[in-house]
Structure formats: C-alpha cells, structure tokens
C-alpha cells in the first residue's frame, strides 16, 4: 500500500549511491518501504544494473513500457528453468522444479493448454453460483464487534475452498493445500517461514507431490473429469511428467490458484480503509465493483516481480543486456509508473482503463487464472456490500518476507455490530 512513509526511508532511498540500490532485498517488501526506491530508479535509471546482491548481479526493469517489451519477447528473454527460471533467486540446481511457467515454447504451450480450460469463460460461468454461495456462508459466519484476522477467516478460507474445488481435493484436508502453497513460496531465510532450508522445502514438496500423485494415479484410471489433477493425468503433454516436474507443476497451480487472490482479498480491504472517500464511493454505487477489482489487483500487485534470462545480447531502454544476464521485471514498479498510469500512487476505484496493469503479466506467460481471480474478488465484494457497509482495519498488517510474492500474513479487522 502507500502509507505515508517516514522521512528516514525517503531520505535513505534518495541519498544512497545509485549503484548500491538493491531492490531484491525482501525486507523492502516485508516493511513496505519499496516505493521511493523504485520512484528513484524510474526517474534516474529505469533499467538498472545491480552488481552485487544475495542472488548475484541482475538488471531491474522498472518502467511499464520496458516491462512490456520484455514480456512480449520470449524468444530473447527466456523463462527456462535450466537458465534459472522466473525468480531473481535461482532454485538450487539439484532441486529445481520445472513447470510450464518455467519453460519456453513449445513445451510451455503444450502444458499450459492442458490446464487452461478449467479457468475458461464457460467453466467460470458454471462455478459462479458455487463461489457465491460459499462466499456468503463464510461472510455470514464472521464475528461482530470483535477483532479477528481477515487473512485467516476470509482470504485464506475462500481461496483454499476454491483450490480444493479446482483439484477436487478431499474437503476436510483442504488447509493442507494452503500449507504447501506457503511452503512453495517460502523464503527459507525468514524466521516465519514454515521451512528453514532448501532441503526441508524440497522434502515437504515431495510429500505434497506424493499425496497428490496418489489422486493423480487414481484419476488416470478413471474417465477424464474437469479438475486439475484429472486434466493433468489425461493430458498428452502432462501425463508422463518426471517427478520434479510434477512437483513444480503442482506448486505452480497451487500457488497461482490461491496465494495471489488471497493477498488481493486482503489488500483490497486495506486500500478501502486507507482511502475512506473511495470506500464511500463504493457504498454509494456498488456497480463500481468490477472496475474496483481491477484497481485492487493493480494497487496490490500480488506478484512483485518476474525474472527472465537473456538468450542473446539485446537492448532495453538504451542499456545493453548481455547474453546470460538476469532481467527482472518489477511489476510493483511498472504499476506505479506515471507515464503509463495516471496518478498511480493513489487507489481510485473508478479510474478509466482499470484493466491496463501489469499484475497478471503479459505475453505467453500471462496469468492463466486471471479471470477466475477477478470473478472471486467481484463476488467477494458484491457479497460484502450486501452485508457489511463497514469493515474496519484495527491495526497494521504483517507481511511476508519475500521479494516475489507480495504476501499479507495477517490483518486485524472488526465489523461493527
């Protein structure tokens, strides 16, 4: 969000030497102090080389139009797991877990097409009633006049239910999926991480792949049905994946299928509380919800960055990128670029062209579940506004130590009686 940052943060961001700016430091996101660093980079050095970081040297692409240039040129800017994949931090070589987000064409295309029908318009229309009914039930069960954690009671609960449906996973064990999602995105250096080494993470994700592998095997023997495991089990391009690729694919679908939407569900409520005038606009006119949903997704930017690796020498914004260089597209920054988005630091629920934001990425890796995410958020806000005109944020959120997933771990809120 954009809280008034204290002057010390601004002064530091504005005064440290340009070449010592390292926006890959996860503390910037956990402490929510990243804004002035990117404002400075966009202004002074929009394609910025960081020589030394915990993750080695990397380029930062910070402007909307430069990010778009990288997004559409997958021939040069590769997502391949063998080259390092899609995050500034490489997965350890002997433990890397490929999946279609970490592949280039043609394999990316073949695998993506196996799962995409589950989130296509026709199926979304089928799911809308179910999502609405569950959302209503979760909201009806919330306490009044008492502080509770919105993340656990609403954001995690709703997205976990969605995930269990998409996988047709045993209902009572569904929070297991959320746990694996948290493991998959964990930064093992964080004290709050559920796992504390790459080995431990690999071991937990192995358990995930074994548990879901059993269901996958069962469904391979049954006629195809419309859940992700059955689709993978019957898909030409996915039914014989090596074990680590199976792990990677499940991690991708689990994280993509819940964590990002979870954080938008929380971030939207925070934004409305930060901007009471916008909250009032919403109360006065709930037909603003669809546009507001896009604005929430832009403002929250649930995925902080995506990384590519240059396969040949190229140029971005006048800088020469060498073959083999890491190129990081900072979506948080592109979504705050005033050259692409008017008044980008403010949350404006009825802004024109709200769908033009970078949060879903662009090009062949554009978020496959984007329409499902929007549907869930739209229904959530429609159902909230039917019940609760005011939900108050009672204290600060706690955030995830990550430079990749823009996570909100808890948010105390209260619904007035």
């Amino acid at each position: 969000m954009s809280p008034p940052l204290d002057n010390a943060v601004h002064t530091k961001a504005d005064s440290i030497p340009l070449d010592s700016i390292d926006v890959s430091d996860p503390r910037l996101y956990q402490d929510d102090v990243w804004y002035p660093y990117f404002a400075r980079l966009r202004h002074e050095d929009p394609v910025h080389y960081c020589r030394a970081s915990l993750y080695g040297p990397y380029w930062s692409v910070t402007k909307y139009k430069d990010i778009m240039q990288v997004e559409v040129n997958h021939q040069v800017y590769s997502s391949a797991s063998e080259l390092g994949g899609i995050a500034v931090e490489d997965q350890p070589k002997d433990m890397d877990r490929p999946s279609f987000i970490r592949m280039d064409p043609p394999r990316h295309d073949e695998q993506r097409m196996v799962v995409s029908p589950v989130v296509a318009p026709g199926n979304l229309a089928n799911m809308e009633g179910l999502i609405r009914e569950r959302t209503g039930r979760v909201l009806d069960g919330l306490p009044r006049n008492e502080t509770f954690d919105w993340v656990d009671r609403v954001s995690v609960e709703l997205t976990t239910m969605m995930l269990a449906t998409l996988f047709d996973y045993p209902w009572d064990d569904r929070r297991q999926l959320t746990y694996w999602s948290d493991v998959a995105i964990a930064n093992v250096r964080s004290p709050e991480s559920p796992v504390h080494s790459e080995e431990e993470k690999f071991a937990e994700l192995t358990k995930m792949a074994e548990a879901l592998g059993k269901l996958f095997q069962e469904r391979a023997q049954l006629p195809p049905k419309f859940d992700l495991l059955s689709m993978l089990a019957h898909g030409e391009a996915t039914r014989n994946m090596p074990f680590r690729e199976f792990m990677g694919t499940l991690s991708l679908l689990i994280v993509g299928g819940n964590d990002t939407t979870r954080n938008s569900m929380t971030g939207g409520l925070m934004a409305l509380n930060e901007y009471p005038g916008e909250y009032q606009k919403l109360r006065d006119d709930p037909t603003l919800i669809p546009g507001m949903v896009s604005e929430i997704i832009r403002y929250v930017t649930p995925v902080i960055h995506m990384r590519r690796t240059a396969k040949e020498d190229s140029e971005i914004g006048g800088k020469t990128i060498k073959k083999g260089d890491k190129v990081v597209m900072w979506y948080v920054s592109g979504n705050r670029d005033p050259e692409a988005i008017d008044d980008p630091d403010n949350f404006i629920i009825d802004r024109p062209r709200p769908r033009q934001h970078l949060s879903f990425g662009f090009g062949i890796h554009r978020c496959v579940g984007n329409r499902l995410a929007e549907l869930q958020l739209r229904i959530l806000w429609e159902e909230i506004m039917q019940r609760y005109p005011v939900i108050e944020v009672m204290g600060p959120a706690t955030r995830t130590y990550s430079n990749f997933i823009h996570g909100i771990r808890s948010l105390p809120v209260r619904i007035p009686a």
């Binding site: 559409v72 995409s116 026709g122 879903f360």
Partner: protein, 112 residues
C-alpha cells in the same frame, strides 16, 4: 469526413450489433474501445500481449483479413485464448483500411 470512414460491424456474443465508423489506420480493437462497444477488453492496450481483444472474423471476410502467420506473436497468443476458432483474430492486429469497409466481426462468449 465521416462519410469516408470504413464501417465495421461488431456483433456481441448475445447478438447485438454495433455498426461503427472507424478512421483509416486505426485498429479494429480501437474502433470498439473508442465507441464503447462491449465485449473487447484489450487489457494490454494493443501490444498483442494478452488476447483479450479476440474476435471471430465473418467467414466472408477472411480472405481480406487473412489469418495470423503461424509462429507469429498473434498466433501464439491466440493459441491460449479460450474458444479459439480457425477464423479467430486479435482485433488489435487488424488495421482498418478501405478494403475492410463493411467488415463483420463477432465476439466470443468471454475474453480470457
């Protein structure tokens, strides 16, 4: 000058028709967006990067518009669009010319 502008007909998924004059050189996508024709989202703004301006070109017009070159960015983005058909195009890649005067395009059930 509007008499000189090519006319494009957009047909919504539900069947509603919009006949719109679009200036030469504009994309068929822009023609829809600038005239508030619903059903085309154009999330990327015309960069051929999202497939949310997907349309079906009327069969009679396919000879004029052509189909995307195999292996092109448009073909690649369209291959991920739900509900793709042989007459699918991304309307941001169709530039309005005199030859397209009278073009008819239909919208899919949803953009994805």
């Amino acid at each position: 000058m509007s008499a000189d502008m090519p006319k494009i007909t957009y047909i919504e998924y539900g069947g509603r028709e919009h006949r719109v004059e679009v200036p030469l050189g504009r994309s068929v996508m822009r023609g829809a967006v600038e005239n508030n024709v619903p059903g085309i989202d154009a999330d990327c703004g015309g960069e051929c990067a999202c497939a949310t301006c997907h349309v079906y070109v009327d069969e009679g017009w396919l000879g004029v518009t052509g189909t995307p070159t195999p292996g092109s960015q448009e073909a690649s983005m369209l291959s991920f669009a739900a509900l793709g058909q042989p007459n699918s195009r991304l309307s941001c890649q169709l530039k309005v010319s005199e030859a397209l005067d009278g073009l008819i395009v239909r919208m899919p059930e949803g953009q994805h």
